[in-house]
Symmetry: C2
Subunit: 218 residues, 2 copies
Amino acid sequence: MSDLILYSLPHSPYAARVRMQLNLKGIAAAIEAPPEGLGSASFKALTPTGKVPVLKAGDQHLPESIAIMEFLEERYPEPALLQGSDLERGWCRSATRFVDLGLAPALFPLFSQLRAKPRDEALIERSLVEMKKQLSILSQFIERSPAPLLDAKAPAFFDCVLTPVMFYITTIAPLFGDKTILEGQEPLATWWADIQEHAQVSKLLDEMRAGLAAMMGG
Amino acid sequence: MSDLILYSLPHSPYAARVRMQLNLKGIAAAIEAPPEGLGSASFKALTPTGKVPVLKAGDQHLPESIAIMEFLEERYPEPALLQGSDLERGWCRSATRFVDLGLAPALFPLFSQLRAKPRDEALIERSLVEMKKQLSILSQFIERSPAPLLDAKAPAFFDCVLTPVMFYITTIAPLFGDKTILEGQEPLATWWADIQEHAQVSKLLDEMRAGLAAMMGG
């Protein structure tokens, strides 16, 4: 048993990517909600941003999902999920950064509209167009990478990063009437269909679905 | 002579952090503007996002500043700028991520107001308050890190990341009448005063200042 605690919430895509990595690497870690809640003073004492995930390793705490994932690759090198040549790892990091600086932010306006009454239909339409633009750029990262970035059969680092974000994209776009958000985005769409069949991923997505339902119902 | 070209623009804080790293590591690389310009089809053929920096290494191109910096640390390990224990490197990566997901985005509304006529004074005031909040969180990263994140005398990875962003924060806030943006943010403010005296940094900041002036005057 490792000496790790991951402070996590089921619906957080940033926490879910670390849980996926822990599962794929077979690292035993306790998964816990933030002690006394996300907004509590005791949790803010553990991390400057007050956000999940935070990894407790021994008596130290490390915030930020990608920093945690890089740390886990260094401390638990086998099985390696971030591998290949330096340039291949570079493209994986580059695409990862695009997910968090380009793709995921395109979701934020749609999140804000989920409970809005009345909805801002013009904002929703603009946001869905923007999301498709960002998905096209993502498809270019996938196409241009010197090594495959995605592998639904043997998921690695970038599969962990993208899966929870793709869960939100494909869950939320249909709520605004867009059922074709991945249309024309091959091989991304095929990867997404396939990876949902992966046993560990399927379980992770069930956790996220239940977490999202609990959050929306709360 | 290495086989590297960095596609860069003088005013870009994301390109400037890579130039600073190249200088500190003593890596010889050609620094070039995007061939045929930032928006050109030929540059977009090199990178999915169309943004600088992009590193050409041999016949391959790698986009995204932090992916490039990690690549350079791997390919040219000496002198190491990202070092220490796995947890210490983890905190450096965590703070780096905060700069790009929390601190730098707080600048965007102020950029948008630089040439606005009339200016949206309420937006400017909110943005300056938000900037101070993000600087306080940054100060917490600096305080809580298990190893020093900043070193004005011997700059390393995080100094490279933060310096060009701090240039913009301390250049733009006074343009909106705020000359105390770093007040109360110690040891950040002292570091910023000191690192501007570093010979290589001073030269970099001159390049950024000239680049910004050219862009604003254009």
